[in-house]
Structure formats: structure tokens, C-alpha cells
């Protein structure tokens, strides 16, 4: 594929608002996971809640979009001068030539959950204040962000569970290569809600403790929330040596089970191989892998097998979900931004909370932060329905080996 440059990017999760705080947390090996005290939820678990989300006020003209998911989106968009960068791009290319492709899994479903508690006792009707289009519908977050950013180009929400905001990079890439647009805002936003907290609990996939990906004693996920965005453009003639580029994308389906991965990681393997192929890279070129690493016994086992089969057991890797929790539909974009920081900082972040790495997973899992040249990174995102996506990012022109 033709590489693209991440002209600008930002992320907000429980470990920090914006890049500065996110990087500081990674360097300090700080987790944002804490005992769950969200809404009226009574579950013995840890979550990654972003402080201050409900303090966000949406612009007057966009009140129909008011919900936790869009507040979180706005909170993240306001960091790191991201909105100004998009405005500059829109002026350069034209508003209709900038697309927006965002991932989410549950959109603003929390509003619907609350509205169902306030049904009319006689008729069962939802309150008049409930706004389906602005909050519940999966498109809500892209509709909101597109208007907040004053864009007029093609738009869609990708909604394939936990691979959503990795796959948006693929949608944007195809749109740009087809010549429909010159730039794209990509990203992911997913916020805490009862559906996912009680849903993952019903599947017995939630840990009581902060999640411990790839640990021998791992016993489930910690649910988090996040919003992360990147502005994608074509690679210019001159490229800053610190610029982060999207080099490869692999997408596949397990065709196996709705909520369990193929035990051998069949689909994960295909996605990783395709990402390498589209990037024109070999397994030896990958310096760090940000694993999907949710912390459930079966997910990490399947992913470990797939990684060992494709990359061997020598590539340093970690799951940053021990810090951020599993941010579901936002995980792909959040971890893409973490990969971008890894490239710019030559920092391979440790996987937190894990004490004893499961030797059967076959991964060189990092328990401490590691410093060293990071020219190419891979990021894995896998979701319910067997939806898999692997991304490869590089630094500077074709990674730094050609410089």
C-alpha cells in the first residue's frame, strides 16, 4: 500500500488527557485502573474511567448529541491542538475533501439505558428528552465530530466491536487511494456503559483485579473508556524524521465463533501476515508489537500462538491494557497513538500488572519499559464476531533504516 502520514494525533484515556499526560504515564508505568464506582453499577471489578467527562459541555448548536460518548470525544478533540490541525487541513484541501471515519462499539447507549429507567409508567414511552439519532445511533460520534470540526467530506462509523478503530485506518486509506478525499480524520471513541460492564460480566470475562494480560494467572479484562484521533494525509515530498507513518494494514475474519477467538489464532495470523505484506516488511523489521492482550485466558493464548507463528518469539511486545483497560471500540485508535509515541520516543512500554508471563504464549512480553531503536511497530486489534485488524506504523521515510 501507499504509506500515509499521521500529520497530527491525540489520545485521552484513564491514564491522561492528551499526549503529554499519556506519555508521562507510560514512562512512569502508571495504571489508570481503579475499583468500579461508575453510575449505579454494582460489580466487583476495576475500570479505566476518564475523569471529568461529564464536565464537558457540547456547543449550543450540537446539544442533540449530548451524551457521555460525545462528551468524551470532545474532551479528546480539544487536546494537543487537534482541532486546529484539522482546520488547517480542511482549508488546504477543502472541507469536502476531508473524510471522517471513527470506530465505536456502543456509541451513546448509556443514554438509552438511563431512558429505559424513565419510561412512562402508563404508556412505556421513552422520555421526550431522549435523542435517538444524536446519542444512540452508532453514527452519532462521527456525525457530532464532523460538525464540531466543520467537515463536509465522506463519513462513516466503523462498528465491528473491538477492532472498530483499527479498521477505520483501512477505510480511510481506501478512500484516499481511490481519490475521493485528500485527508481523513480517523479515530475511536467508546465510553463506559452498563451494557458492556454487565455484558462482559455475563460472559465471565471480567477480572476482579486490574487486568493482567499474558500473566499465568490472568482471569479477564478491565473495561476502560477512551477517545483517540489521528489526521491522515498523503506522505509529502519532505518528511520530518520524527513523523509517524501508516505502512501496512491486515484485515481478516475468524469465521469461528461470535465471542471466542479461534484457538490457534487463525484470523489473527492472517491479519498480521497481510499487514507485513502490504507494508513490504519482514517479521525481522518489527521492533515492537502492541498486543491486543485483553487479559482473558483464551484471547491471550490465541494471540500468543499467532504472534509466535508470524513474528517468532523474539519481538518485544506488551499489552497497554493493564494501564488503560480495554477501551473496546476505541482500543485500536488509542493503541495506534501509543505506537506513535513508542516510535517517536524509542520507548517500548511495559505491560503493567503482569508478574509472571505465561510461558505457553510464546511472546517476549515486556515487564519493564525498554529503550531502544523503534523503527517499525505492529498493533493488533481483534473483536467479537471474529473481526481482526493489524496495523504497522513506521517513523520518518520508510522507517529510519533508509535514512
Amino acid at each position: 500500500m501507499t504509506p500515509l502520514v499521521l500529520t497530527h494525533f491525540t489520545a485521552t484515556s484513564c491514564i491522561g488527557r492528551g499526549l503529554h499526560e499519556t506519555l508521562a504515564a507510560l514512562k512512569e508505568r502508571r495504571t489508570g485502573l481503579a475499583p468500579c464506582a461508575f453510575e449505579s453499577v454494582e460489580l466487583d471489578t476495576h475500570i479505566g474511567e476518564v475523569p471529568g467527562v461529564d464536565g464537558e459541555r457540547l456547543p449550543d448548536g450540537l446539544q442533540e448529541f449530548d451524551c457521555r460518548n460525545n462528551r468524551l470525544a470532545q474532551l479528546a478533540l480539544r487536546q494537543d491542538g487537534f482541532m486546529a490541525a484539522v482546520e488547517k487541513s480542511a482549508r488546504r484541501w477543502g472541507r469536502r475533501r476531508v473524510g471522517i471515519f471513527l470506530g465505536t462499539s456502543t456509541s451513546g447507549i448509556l443514554e438509552t439505558e438511563l431512558a429505559y429507567r424513565h419510561r412512562d409508567p402508563a404508556t412505556g414511552a421513552l422520555p421526550d428528552s431522549f435523542q435517538y439519532r444524536g446519542t444512540h445511533n452508532a453514527f452519532s460520534v462521527a456525525d457530532f465530530a464532523r460538525q464540531a470540526l466543520n467537515l463536509e467530506g465522506p463519513a462513516a462509523v466503523v462498528c465491528s466491536a473491538c477492532s472498530s478503530s483499527a479498521k477505520v485506518f483501512g477505510s480511510a486509506r481506501r478512500m484516499m487511494e481511490a481519490g475521493l478525499i485528500d485527508a481523513a480524520v480517523v479515530g475511536g471513541v467508546d465510553s463506559l456503559c452498563l451494557t458492556t460492564l454487565y455484558g462482559f460480566h455475563s460472559l465471565q470475562l471480567v477480572s476482579r483485579l486490574p487486568c493482567r494480560p499474558f500473566d499465568v494467572t490472568r482471569d479477564g479484562i478491565s473495561i476502560g473508556e477512551a477517545a483517540a484521533f489521528a489526521l491522515l494525509e498523503r506522505v509529502p515530498a519532505t518528511l520530518d524524521s520524527n513523523a509517524v507513518t501508516l505502512l501496512g494494514i491486515g484485515e481478516s475474519s475468524d469465521a469461528y465463533h461470535m465471542s471466542s477467538p479461534h484457538p490457534e489464532g487463525r484470523g489473527a495470523r492472517t491479519a498480521m501476515l497481510q499487514a507485513l505484506e502490504t507494508a513490504g516488511l519482514t517479521p525481522q523489521d518489527i521492533d515492537y508489537i502492541n498486543l491486543h492482550g485483553t487479559g482473558t485466558p483464551s484471547n491471550d493464548s490465541a494471540e500468543g500462538r499467532a504472534v509466535a507463528a508470524v513474528l517468532g518469539s523474539k519481538v518485544p511486545g506488551s499489552s497497554t491494557k493493564g494501564a488503560t483497560g480495554h477501551t473496546l471500540g476505541a482500543a485500536g485508535a488509542l493503541e495506534a497513538v501509543i505506537c506513535a509515541l513508542a516510535l517517536q520516543q524509542d520507548l517500548m512500554p511495559a505491560g503493567l500488572n503482569t508478574r509472571e508471563v505465561d510461558p505457553t504464549t510464546g511472546v517476549d512480553y515486556l515487564l519493564e519499559n525498554r529503550r531502544g531503536r523503534v523503527a517499525h511497530v505492529m498493533s493488533n486489534s481483534f473483536g467479537f464476531g471474529g473481526s481482526n485488524c493489524s496495523l504497522i506504523f513506521g517513523r520518518g521515510r520508510r522507517g529510519r533504516r533508509d535514512e
Binding site: E113, H136, N137, P154, C159, S171, T195, G199, S253, A255
Partner: protein, 266 residues
């Protein structure tokens, strides 16, 4: 922009008074013979019994139009990447989850939860068809069909691969129905390829446009088009059913629509 050119190899259709493409196409051509009746969803093919019991309307719809479209194309459904477009996913399942979460006992059924993902129908399709290539699942509210079409077209043109596009919507039960009044289920499947084949049905060339979306004047199909997001495809399906060359404009976003030149191949 570069026009996006693809070939249609197979069509699947299911909607109010439209039981499949073979019997539905003549009704699209001659609207006087069309009688609007509730959509009839067949049992899901290709799934093991345990999975079959768990599937909702949207899965039955997606499987029906997917298998019809791929059968006509002569291509193995296992080899085709898919694009799945839907505004709301499984509305009944979502309603049941919200009811439970608003009750005193919030214990959800695990099956309800894993069926709640927007890509549930895409996941069941991949299992039923044994399809391991990529599956892209998009939503754009009322623009979901056009968003899925653009996702599919760019994949065909850029990656030079055949793609199965599935656009499906079903109704919500009350109280969500009042807030999002989709009256009935509608699904369309299109197998699209980058190059012309012996069996190609038509060539489509798409661009973005400022022109307003086509309506279906003096036809009960207009109400279907306007009220079900996946049925925004009807102006295109009408042209394909008539097997005549022409120009259609499909509804998309407030700022732009999708213009399509249709040229029959046979």
C-alpha cells in the same frame, strides 16, 4: 475525483412484499403489480443448530440476501470480503438488553450480549459462509447504504478484489420504535467485482454529487425507500431490474449524494 467503476455479479433482495431478487425484480419494473406486505424472513441457512437458535431478524436477513447474491454470482461466499452496512443492527436484542438493565435484576444473557455488537450479522455471515477475508461493518444513520456502497466500491477499485456488500435494517420494538420508526425489514446484497466477466449483470460507475437523491414517484416503493435506510438502494435496484442504461442518484449525507451510471452488460 476518479470515477469508481465496478461490475455487478449477483443481487440478493428481501423486503416488504419482495421475497427475493428473482421474484422481486419484475415487481420493481412494474410497480402496479407490487403489493406491500410484511417482510418474510426465512430460517437462517448454513448455521449449526445451536447458532441458528440464537439469531435475530437481522442475521436471517443478512444470510438470505448474502446467499442469494453469491449464488447468482457463481462465486464462493467463503472467498469474498464483505462490507456490512446497517443503521441500527439488531433492534429487538438491544431493546431486551435495555429492559434488563433497567430492571432490578441486571443479569444479562451472554448470548444477548454477544449478539448486541453491530457486527453480529457480519460475524454470523462469516461463520455460515466460512468466509475468512476481511469484513467491514459501517453505520451512517440514514446514509448507511451509501456509506456501505462507498466502502465496498473503494475496496473493489483500490484492492482489486471482489466484494460482497450487505445492507440490512430491521425495526425496533416499542418504545424505541417511536424514536426510530423503521417500519419493516429490508436487505440487499450485491456482489461487486473489479473487472467484467462473462456473467456480469451491469457496470456501475460512481461519483459524489450535489444533486438530490432520486425518488420513486407514484409508487408505493417510495415510502419503503424513504423509511428504511437499506432501502435507499431502491433507485439503483430499479435500474438494475429494468436492465437499462441510465443515471441514478442515491441518498447519502446532507452535503453530498452518490451518483451512479448504470450500464447493463447483457
Amino acid at each position: 475525483m476518479t470515477p469508481l467503476t465496478v461490475y455487478v455479479e449477483g443481487i440478493g433482495l428481501l423486503g416488504p412484499g419482495l421475497n427475493d431478487w428473482a421474484s422481486g425484480a419484475p415487481l420493481l419494473v412494474d410497480a402496479s403489480s407490487y403489493v406491500r406486505q410484511a417482510t418474510v424472513l426465512p430460517a437462517p441457512a448454513g448455521l449449526p443448530p445451536a447458532e441458528r437458535r440464537r439469531t435475530g431478524e437481522i442475521v436471517k436477513l443478512a444470510l438470505a440476501v448474502g446467499f442469494e447474491a453469491t449464488a447468482r454470482s457463481g462465486m464462493s461466499p467463503a472467498t469474498l470480503p464483505t462490507v456490512f452496512a446497517s443503521s441500527g443492527g439488531d433492534g429487538h436484542n438491544c431493546h431486551e438488553i435495555c429492559l434488563t438493565l433497567a430492571s432490578d435484576d441486571r443479569q444479562l444473557s451472554p448470548t444477548r450480549f454477544h449478539n448486541s455488537v453491530h457486527n453480529a450479522a457480519a460475524g454470523y455471515w462469516s461463520i455460515a459462509a466460512g468466509a475468512t477475508p476481511s469484513s467491514n461493518v459501517v453505520c451512517a444513520y440514514d446514509a448507511s447504504f451509501a456509506a456501505g456502497l462507498l466502502e465496498a466500491l473503494t475496496q473493489v477499485v483500490v484492492d482489486r478484489t471482489a466484494v460482497l456488500l450487505l445492507a440490512c435494517d430491521v425495526s425496533y420494538p416499542e418504545p424505541l420504535h417511536t424514536k426510530r420508526p423503521i417500519p419493516d425489514a429490508f436487505g440487499v446484497g450485491l456482489v461487486l467485482t473489479p473487472g467484467r466477466r462473462e456473467s456480469s449483470l451491469a457496470r456501475l460507475t460512481a461519483t459524489l454529487t450535489n444533486a438530490p437523491a432520486d425518488r420513486i414517484p407514484d409508487s408505493p416503493l417510495e415510502a419503503v425507500r424513504a423509511s428504511i435506510p437499506a432501502a435507499r438502494s431502491l433507485p439503483l435496484l430499479l435500474r438494475l431490474a429494468r436492465r437499462e442504461a441510465g443515471h441514478v442518484v442515491i441518498d447519502y449525507l446532507e452535503t453530498q449524494r452518490v451518483a451512479i451510471e448504470v450500464a447493463p452488460c447483457r
